[in-house]
Symmetry: C2
Subunit: 138 residues, 2 copies
Amino acid sequence: MENLDFINKLRNSGLRPTKQRIKICEALFNTDKTFHFTVNDLAEIMQKNFNEKISLATLYNTVHAFKKKGYVKEISLGNDKSYFDTNVSFHHHFFDIRTNELTDINSNEIELKNIPNPPKGKSIKEIDVVINVENDSQ
Amino acid sequence: MENLDFINKLRNSGLRPTKQRIKICEALFNTDKTFHFTVNDLAEIMQKNFNEKISLATLYNTVHAFKKKGYVKEISLGNDKSYFDTNVSFHHHFFDIRTNELTDINSNEIELKNIPNPPKGKSIKEIDVVINVENDSQ
DNA sequence: TATTTAGTTTATAATTAATCTAAAGTAGAA
DNA sequence: TTCTACTTTAGATTAATTATAAACTAAATA
């Protein structure tokens, strides 16, 4: 993707195409690979790989703005940290409880049978399956 | 359950039966109902229902000691908080994304078919299914 | 192109959950 | 009882996240 594409993508969704946001788009969306990251991870990536020092506050704002627009997805784990995922399609995860490493599982690789009825008056928004793993040697 | 039972339970598992731990046992295990709580919730319960002011540090220590002994279970959610559960059997949860309310789902109410193979060299420790719900009117 | 203005970025402070520390307290063994 | 090791406590610390207010900048307007 070209910078211009990111600029249009941002503009079309009502986000001003600032220098910082464009760079963050490059970091997150300029590849086919899925990224799993915390905001802190992203800060390091911007610094090391892009030589851009963007303040944490801006990174939090931008990641949350992107989440609101559906460009990234927040992942539910039992950690004290929030993980984000550039794969916004419905899918699940392996989670390495030692290294905190995440691996995608396609939604069609897991079949949920007999989903129980939600409590009265409530409806299902999303189902998250987390398969916690660790090294065999542990 | 009698206090003496809790004292023995604690002693048998190598935990000193202190006044604070016995009271916490009463609060958590003196009922058939399942409790879902954060350490902060527990602090309020001890204060309001038992008129015991126990320091947060002690509550953290005790809950983690109980977790290590398998008396409570830590639950993985996408929150910034750690939830604990007095239902230590293998089961899943509804999670109300507005109110943070948890509801148990018996493990036999959900059937997982086609669990994919974990990444090479890793083995599965636990599977957590969280069904996120919210009120119909939202 | 210069000016305006509304949204953005930044450094810094504030907040929150959780953990650590070191002193005081207490259970249980001798 | 006395002693010792473990426990509790208040208060400090850490780490993730959010709020604030001043400086900045994109883009609309003149």
